[in-house]
Amino acid sequence: MNPVYLDHAATTPVRPEVREAMAPFADSVFGNPSSQHRWGREASAALENARADAAAALGARNAEVYFVRGGTEADNLAVCGACRALAAATDGGRPRLLVSAIEHHAVLHVAESMAEAGEAQLEIFPVREDGSLDLDPIRSALADGPALVSCMWVNNETGIVLPVEDLSRLALEADAILHTDAVQAVGKLPVDLGAVEGIHLLTVSGHKIYGPKGTGLLFVRRGVGLAPLLHGGGQERKLRPGTEDVAGAVGLAAALRLAVDEREAEAARLTALRERLEARLTDELEGVVVAGASARRAPHVANMGFEGIDPTMLLINLDLEGIAASGASACQSGSGKGSHVIEALYGAANGRAHVRFSLGHLSDEENVSRAADKIVEVVRRLRGAA
């Protein structure tokens, strides 16, 4: 059987338009953008065109886009950089750092390390199963001195959409900084930074949207202070020194522009496929739940919990049948640990095997339906054997 890739939230293939846009920058346009000569100018023009494209796609100003080397780096720069800038602005005080319990580890572990180092007062706020937040405690925490809130826009494991717009209003009222990891949101939801003024920092990753791996950008709203993590040359206005990856920036910008242009149609297509997949599994199998079923969700992620089977055995059996899915987010699945997201939403031992199926360009009606057949078959077989 032809394999079915249902792990687009882990990563995606570089799309042909992106590869084509990047092609000249491997050898023919190879200059260092910092050089004054013809070669350098050519490279720097390409870099700035990419920045303008990316900014336009996000509703940002060109000068608010900083190219970095991936989503994790952008998250680190946002959380550490903003905390340190807040501390510096308040004579070394320890700013409050509020993050949701279901953040990606690229935020959660950074926040914990800032707290351990005594650089921030960390508070982790819960998220309800329907994706909503209890805003009052957050509001009162924000009233209490300089603060950074970091809350992802779309949760990577469940697709749950978090109320970032609500938080942005709180942040504006309280004069706090709001960072959002939008790695799973861009190209899936409308993201217009011109319209949501209270988002100060926003993370984008290239490889989740059919761009190259190792590319990302951090949006930094004009006037927001950020301390750099790396020191060196003056690239990216001293916020991210190091000779720029022009090919990567061009690829990221091209991918981002296409993702935003095609968002509406693609979101509708994926939502229909996802709903069909969820309906088939819940209709044909007993003891199956959709994580975040009552929440507003991004179009591409179906996190299904299957009662009475071992999650590792389920994933391996699916792989042997040619179906790629993931357990906890892919970064965690080598570690054998349970998902902190499912735990935060449903408690430690809910006894279900949670698997994330994530859809994208490689998905169509035929292969999603074929995958559903196989999933039903494997789950039945495993339950029969147990």
Binding site: D310, T312, N317, L320, G334, G336
Partner: protein
């Protein structure tokens, strides 16, 4: 052809085992068992979770174009192997952790998960042979006498034998290396692992110190005595001693002295001459049989350490424990080690040595 689950440690032997199964036309699924997390040991620059082994196994599996998965057995392994290892040393005995792992953890887990993955057979890179007949299966020594690992496998559940494959049983280590080189496997030049996998420092007393409640008698100084009670020195913890081990005592003793006995209750380590070490009766408990168990009066061969030859013996009693009378006195019968019973090359079964005695009148 059948679907075979092969345990891949990331070493050269299991790499070649997997390659041979692929060549034979099986549908092969590779797995590496994650037994122990190195990041929790204070020393080492080693990365987490025996990651080197996992990574190497993954490279080989990918080159062979077979799937590869990691099974986390850390919890079971800690309970059944590491905790037992610590408990045995605390009792003054010398355990075989690899036997414990094979008997209790590794093969049982492979079988259970293999079934869930639709695998008919389980394979490993041990140097042993298995013959499958209509009326059952026999486990035999590997043909390479220098590498034979049958000593470690007496504790397998007997009902598992029909499902096992050991592709290296007919090969020598040299041939295995050559195959690995010919196939350009990433692990072809990897050195043998010698140390116990969960004792990366090579000194198991570090682990005991971490695991035993402090201060534990096994790690406190005590007297070194002769059989007549004469104190001849002091030791720094009886857990560091193994019966049969040669013990240097410094000046004054012309004869080499050996550890005869470890007495946890008094913390005494008894030493004596090589002659005093000889025993001709051994009691073996926690028995497991891979063939019909021998009866009283049956002649068998018994191997009491890895790489030692099996020696002839007669079964004297058999019940909860097995008592074997050796044809000749044998030095260094170590409580806690495995005694494996053979009929020629065939493994009949085995158990853990409880005690060694000198039979009847001396």
């Amino acid at each position: 052809m059948s679907r075979v689950l092969v345990a891949m440690s990331g070493g050269v032997d299991s790499s070649v085992a997997a390659a041979l199964l692929v060549e034979a036309g099986h549908e092969v699924v590779g797995v590496t068992m994650k037994t122990f997390c190195y990041s929790e040991t204070p020393d080492s620059g080693k990365t987490c979770c025996g990651l080197d082994g996992i990574v190497d196994a993954r490279r080989v599996a990918t080159a062979l174009d077979i799937p590869h998965y990691v099974f986390d057995v850390e919890e079971d392994f800690t309970r059944d192997v590491i905790d037992d290892f610590v408990r045995e040393y605390a009792r003054g005995r010398t355990p075989n952790p690899c036997v414990r792992c094979n008997s209790n953890t590794k093969f049982r887990d492979l079988l259970r998960r293999g079934e869930a993955l639709g695998c008919d057979r389980i394979a490993t890179g041990h140097y042993v042979r298995i013959e499958h007949h209509d009326d059952g299966s026999s486990l035999l020594r590997g043909l390479d006498g220098g590498k034979d690992q049958s000593y470690f496998l007496w504790g397998l559940p007997r009902e598992m034998l029909p499902k096992l494959l050991f592709p290296l049983g007919d090969l020598t280590k040299r041939e295995v290396r050559e195959r690995a080189r010919a196939l350009e496997l990433a692990t072809a030049e990897k050195p043998e692992s010698q140390e116990i996998c969960f004792v990366p420092t090579g000194d198991y007393r570090d682990l005991l110190a971490k695991k035993l409640p402090e201060p534990h008698p096994a790690l406190r100084p005590g007297p070194i005595v002769r059989t007549d009670g004469t104190v001849v020195g002091e030791h720094d913890g009886y857990a560091g001693f193994t019966v049969g081990q040669r013990r240097g005592l410094g000046g004054g003793f012309t004869e080499p002295l050996f550890v005869l006995e470890v007495r946890p209750t008094t913390r005494e380590v008894v030493v004596g001459t090589r002659d005093e070490l000889r025993r001709d009766q051994v009691e073996v408990a926690e028995l497991n049989w891979l063939a019909d168990a021998p009866g009283e009066g049956d002649r068998v061969a018994v191997q009491m350490r890895y790489r030692a030859p099996a020696v002839p013996a007669t079964v004297r009693a058999r019940g909860e424990a097995l008592v074997l009378e050796l044809d000749e006195g044998y030095p260094a019968i170590t409580p806690g080690q495995s005694a494996v019973v053979f009929d020629g090359a065939r493994v009949l079964g085995g158990g853990r040595i409880v005690e060694a005695r000198v039979a009847a009148a001396v």
